[in-house]
Each structure stands twice: as structure tokens, then as C-alpha cells.
Amino acid sequence: MSSSINRLAARTRWRAFAGALLVCGGLLLGTAGHAADPVADLRSVDQDVQTLKKQLVDLNRDLFRLEEELLYPASTQVAVFLSLDVGTFFALDSVTLKVDDKEVANYLYTEREVQALHRGGVQKLFLGNLKAGEHEIVAFFTGKGPHERDYRRGTTLKFDKAIGAKYLELRISDRQAALQPEFVVRQWE
């Protein structure tokens, strides 16, 4: 009985030794292969890294889309955007947004952000969910008006939310005739 156990142990040891030899051999061969052309190998690693980076960016984009679709399904989604048209009579400082009398966004604009809006940028100020029915949106704009005076104006819109995403735009423009800024909320069709 004990001799058969000893034989089994010896056979196992021999197998482990042979396995270790094989692994070491493989590693040595692999290293030798690497050493053969290090420049080509580096190039290949660089290409792999670039491919991996691109895949990561794609994955991140897909995940972002998926997250938006899950968190804000089209049936309840409401998005509010802000744009600036000319805006010589108003220097934007901040916007407070209320939906159904509940503050949902309060945004402070830096100089760089205002410049981006002047260049035609459109900012997504709010993204949320609302059930179908009538809702009210109120936006308060704070900044400097004509003659560098502190300026605070509000604008409001009642809208019907049906099945399907709703997109609203807060638009700041100049009313040349009155030399005053104009604040409008409009619905995207």
C-alpha cells in the first residue's frame, strides 16, 4: 500500500517538474522572440495601445448613450437648452431654472462659457423626466444689462408634455428697437 503511494507521489513530482520545465522553456522562447526585433515589437505594442484607447472611447460613448436612454427614456424625457443670439445688451451671469415651481438648475457662467455661447454654442442646461400633462417652466436670468446695470429678468412657458421627448430652448437675443435684451422660451418641434 505504502509503496503504491510512494510511486504515485514520485510520478506526481516528475509531472510537476516536467510542467515547470515546459513553462520555463516557453517563457525563454517568448523572451528570445521579443529580443529578436524590439523596435517592431514596440511599434506593435503602441498600435495595440492606440486600438485599446479607441475601443475605450467607443465603449465610454456607448455607455453614456445607454445611461441616458435608461435614466431619461424618450417617453418622459425633457431637455432644456440655452442659447445666446448676439447678446450685446446683456452680459449673462447666471440662470436659475424652475420646473413646476421646483428649482432644477442653477448655473453660473464663466467668461469662457459666455464666449462659447456667443460663438453659437448651445448648452444643455437641464435633462430630466416629466410625466405627460401640462407643466410650467420658469427661468430667471441674472447679469448686466444696458449701461452695465444689474439685470434680472424672468420668462415662463406652460407646455404640454405628450408621449415622446420634449425639447425646450431658452434664447437670449437683442431687441434692437428697444435697445433691450429679450428672453424667450421656445419649443423644438
Binding site: D93, S94, Y107, L108, Y109, T110, E111, R112, E113
Partner: protein
């Protein structure tokens, strides 16, 4: 027969208790990120914010990506904060070309007082007014002064809470971390 009933009841009770414990553990795990409003840890990203400075400009932290930033939370009633602010004010000359951007965040509701203290200390860096303490809550500031060192990617790389930090120490940290 009675014994078998007792065993069945005990098994049922044990199962119920185990399930209740599991449910509590899951609820705890889910609620943890909401309830724990912890300060951004070293190695973690510094939350973005925008605040009005005493000179009327609005400044956003993320617009300083690419620069090493020192965030200093302070209040006028905090004596040690003034020493820290004085140290940070001399940072550009101490650090030379590798000088970080310093942003002071005042956590009081009184912007006029904050501006007056900043002026009396001769601060050259912007003083941001967190009048609603929203940024203070975001960073879970419970002790002052609090100084944070952020790297060029907006990651917290050093934190000094309730202690004065010298300009030399910040420069040494920047050099050690190769920021």
C-alpha cells in the same frame, strides 16, 4: 410530532432572519454612496464647481485642468486660516516656474466681509465666495483650514486639514509627486 414542529418553526425563523440581514446589508450598500458625503479622498477626483469671486468674475474649477491647483477653504473667524492664506500668497515666489494656481474658497455668507479680509491680507489669488456653503458641503469641509492639492487632471494629491501648511511643504509635495 411537537418536536418536528418546533424544528420547522426554528428553521423558518432562521431563514427569515438571514433574509432580513441580507436585505439590510443590500440596503446599506445601496444607501452608502448617498449617505456618505465624504470629502474627496486623496487619489480621487475633485468635484467640479463654479463660484463668484470677490472681483465679480465667475470661476469654474474644471477650467483649470492642465494646471496644478491649490484649493484653500477658509473663513474670517478662523485664525489659523489667515496664516495658511499668507503662506499660500507667497507660494508663487517660493515655487518659481512650477507655481500652482491658488484658489481661496470662503465659506461665509457675508461676501463683503470675505472681500475685506482678503484685501487686508493682500491676497493676490482669487477669493471665491461660497455663500450658500454648497461647495463646502460638496467637499465635506468640517474643519478649517482645509487645503487641497490637485494635479493637472483635477485629482486630489494632497490634503491638509485643521493644520497650517507652509508654501515649502506644498512645493516639496509638488516636486515629490512630479506634478
Amino acid at each position: 410530532m411537537q418536536r418536528r414542529d418546533w424544528y420547522a418553526r426554528a428553521r423558518q425563523r432562521a431563514l427569515f432572519e438571514t433574509l432580513a440581514l441580507l436585505a439590510a446589508a443590500v440596503a446599506g450598500l445601496l444607501a452608502f454612496p448617498v449617505l456618505s458625503d465624504a470629502r474627496p479622498a486623496t487619489g480621487g477626483p475633485a468635484p467640479d464647481f463654479a463660484l463668484k469671486a470677490t472681483d465679480g468674475r465667475n470661476l469654474r474649477l474644471s477650467e483649470y485642468r492642465g494646471d496644478v491647483v491649490v484649493l484653500a477653504f477658509w473663513a474670517s473667524w478662523c485664525g489659523p486660516c489667515r496664516d495658511t492664506l499668507a503662506q499660500l500668497n507667497s507660494l508663487p515666489s517660493a515655487a518659481g516656474e512650477a507655481a500652482p494656481v491658488v484658489l481661496g474658497v470662503n465659506l461665509e455668507g457675508d461676501g463683503v466681509r470675505a472681500a475685506s479680509v482678503a484685501q487686508s491680507l493682500g491676497l493676490d489669488f482669487p477669493t471665491l465666495l461660497d455663500t450658500r456653503q454648497s461647495v463646502g458641503r460638496l467637499y465635506d469641509v468640517d474643519r478649517l483650514p482645509l487645503t487641497l492639492l490637485l494635479d493637472r487632471d483635477g485629482v486630489v494629491r494632497g490634503a491638509w486639514s485643521q493644520q497650517n501648511v507652509s508654501g515649502e511643504e506644498i512645493v516639496r509635495q509638488i516636486e515629490e509627486l512630479n506634478l
